[in-house]
Symmetry: C2
Subunit: 439 residues, 2 copies
């Protein structure tokens, strides 16, 4: 949708909202629909090709309004997470369908998804141990638990441990910044030997510093054998898995108990929208469900996503997904991902062609980690000059002790000329900086 | 703003967004402003009288755009929570100002605010005990902790305990459904005698079932003397405290460590927007702060609300507050609250005038708890018929073993005629029901 169409459609939507408010008394206060009404009104999968805005818009009255906010909000979300799960070729176990035990939910951020998974895992292991040892107190069991993540994992993973009052350890990564099976196995053995109870591993696909991928095909079987909940956090990279050529990066997902990525990061859905799937809905609901009289309702069969999250109230975020997926179609979204990866590769080539620079990590998706050959101080100065010039903005990281610059292609409107201009600018500032140095 | 103006202003806003996107390359990628730039650009308090939309709108370019998303998002939020705190006449301790130790933050829901307060209190008590007894482990201390709330508290309070892995007890309420000082004192003494460590009390002002108020002026001094963190949850009722005649309901706030209410419930701000204040920002930040390299930035002095909440990402929700408070003015918002309370009183009079019914709890704000004199089954049947007719929708509660109907005035457009029609409808259905009964 270009700006001209956005103006037209935006104004139509303003009128729709005003009409709705002016005529609200003509609408029923409570819907007539039967639980599960929505699924049959829309296709089972996201469209391959883009649809017209008219078609999308007219479905608001046909599909949403009969179910008002509830149960439409819950039901559309369930179906949209099924659509998205199918786009990612998630194993059937993760889909809700009409009879599945799994399913998806929209969280606000990956931080919340990790926390929810961790708390569900905690609740599950406590129940499991108490089933065999009814004498052991929850507090005692929790004091023995230990959760793991990559030493490259996002800070929110450690923070989830802090919130849940749980011991959290970092597994060292290999020279590609990936956690490998043997590294996890080693720590598990050490910890079991000292009486700890490993119960949760958070794998990262696409780490924040360098977009590295933990080796889930090695880690998953270990977690399954050791009865450790495996959560996969693919906050950024997950969007790319809708392309067949990137889907192998998700191999091993079949071993996971829960999986999460952020369509708001790279799939054109506005913030916030973090998609989370679990194989067993009951694991999550069991950890959180509270049902006082004022929360009971006649649509229990539609489910209630409040039991899947920290807040109680919910917004109608699945509408964003529904609109975006239909306006772009799967092919449009794939093209968008591929374009960004192509632009990152273009930047990588520019860096590699310049002998003063080095690439610091494999460029797999839209992130390029690079630095001037030389000291950390030199690179810190370069970064400061780049950001102070306020033409582009880069966020750094540390990789194996080295201060590294990160070039991330992530805006909807980024084109080749922006990448070229950015490189020109960086290269110019680097030349200035290097000339100032004593030889 | 009526529907006609909404149409006009909404369309102007669509154009503004389109213009912004079309011309985005002319804007700086990173703001030039100094941390703290925003506070001096806007008044220190919310306006008494409504302002014109033009005046509000033109401040977007003047106040927000120079600070882009960051630091404008954080700074406007801090100032808006100061505005709102002043509207509620919160003690100075809770305001950020330019030098205060307290301050406010927008959470998504009251559930999150309670959880944050509980976790901050947990972290604080653990540090406090470890300062005197460095040998005691965190796990051991946590296993001894106990938190409290009213037996009328919202289910989210109990759920926060579940999430934090913390023991949570309910304090019995008096015949007005309020927790009194002696009830808390009694439980504290019993628990201390068995070696437990009381550390947190969540008081409710305006309970969900009946809008009852815990006696904070009695409870606060006890909590302060016993070094127990007192959090006040006024999710619904809090909005009313902007009216001088309802402000006494908040008396005792000076004893609290944290306070929360939901402007999205009753102050015309769209969901989600839950306002939370703390006396010591460092208590909260200390419990959550994680600062990897990729999250460091040059505007640290503006603060970072990510350390105050569960998610890491944040939306620009303070814009909603800014617009609403200026479009209504304090007087407009007070008039809105008073109108709703008046409508609830009107409904109460209708109920009281009908001998078949009884009022089940004091009507203080916009909620009327009522029932047919008679059995719970009778009232359950009445509720079922009311809701099945789909003209109005009521949510029930249990009060002292009785099944009670709740009439809540909470929509922006509710007028006296709606209340009259609702009563007429309820009364008619009650007549039908009572006629069917054997005499």
């Amino acid at each position: 949708m270009d700006a001209a169409e956005f103006r037209r459609r935006g104004k139509e939507m303003v009128d729709y909202v005003a009409d709705y408010l002016e005529n609200i008394e003509k609408r029923q206060v409570y819907p007539d629909v039967e639980p599960g009404y929505l699924r049959s009104l829309i296709p089972e999968e996201a469209p391959e090709e883009a649809e017209s805005y008219e078609d999308v818009f007219k479905d608001i009255e046909r599909v949403i309004m009969p179910g008002a906010a509830s149960p439409a909000c819950t039901e559309l979300e369930t179906v949209m997470l099924d659509w998205l799960g199918k786009m990612l070729k998630l194993p059937e176990d993760f889909l809700a369908g009409t009879e599945g035990r799994g399913g998806g939910v929209i969280q606000g951020t990956a931080s919340e998804a990790t926390l929810i998974a961790l708390l569900a895992a905690r609740s599950k292991i406590v129940k499991l141990i108490q089933a065999d040892h009814p004498d052991r107190s929850e507090t005692h069991i929790i004091s023995k638990l230990v959760a793991y993540s990559s030493d490259q994992a996002h800070s929110s993973v450690e923070r989830a441990g802090l919130i849940g009052g749980l011991r959290m350890k970092k597994i060292p990564t290999d020279n590609k910044f990936s956690v490998r099976g043997d590294a996890l196995q080693k720590v598990l053995e050490e910890d079991r030997a000292t009486g700890l109870i490993p119960f949760f591993f958070c794998a990262t696909l696409g780490t924040t510093p360098s977009c590295a991928f933990d080796c889930v095909t090695e880690l998953g079987p270990i977690c399954n054998a050791e009865k450790i909940w495996m959560h996969i956090d693919a906050a950024y990279a997950g969007s790319a898995f809708i392309c067949p050529e990137f889907r192998p990066l998700l191999n091993g997902i079949e071993f996971a108990d829960s999986f999460n990525f952020n369509p708001h990061k790279w799939l054109l859905v506005n913030f916030d929208c973090s998609a989370m799937w679990v194989k067993n809905r009951s694991d999550i609901i069991g950890a959180f469900k509270m049902e006082p009289l004022y929360l009971k309702h006649d649509h229990q069969e539609s489910g209630n996503h409040s039991h899947w999250q920290i807040p109680l109230g919910r917004r109608f975020r699945s509408l964003k997904i529904w609109f975006v997926f239909r306006m772009y179609g799967l092919k449009g979204l794939q093209a968008y991902i591929r374009k960004h990866v192509g632009l990152a590769k273009e930047f990588e080539s520019l860096v590699r062609a310049d002998q003063r620079f080095e690439i610091s990590a494999d460029v797999v998706l839209g992130l390029v980690c690079f630095r001037l050959k030389g000291s950390n101080e030199l690179n810190e100065t370069l970064l400061k000059r780049i950001n102070n010039a306020r033409k582009i903005h880069l966020v750094p990281c540390q990789l194996a002790g080295k201060f590294v610059l990160r070039f991330a292609v992530c805006a909807r409107t980024t084109e080749s000329r922006h990448v070229q201009e950015a490189w020109c600018h960086i290269s110019h500032l680097a030349s200035e900086l290097l000339q100032e140095l004593p030889h």
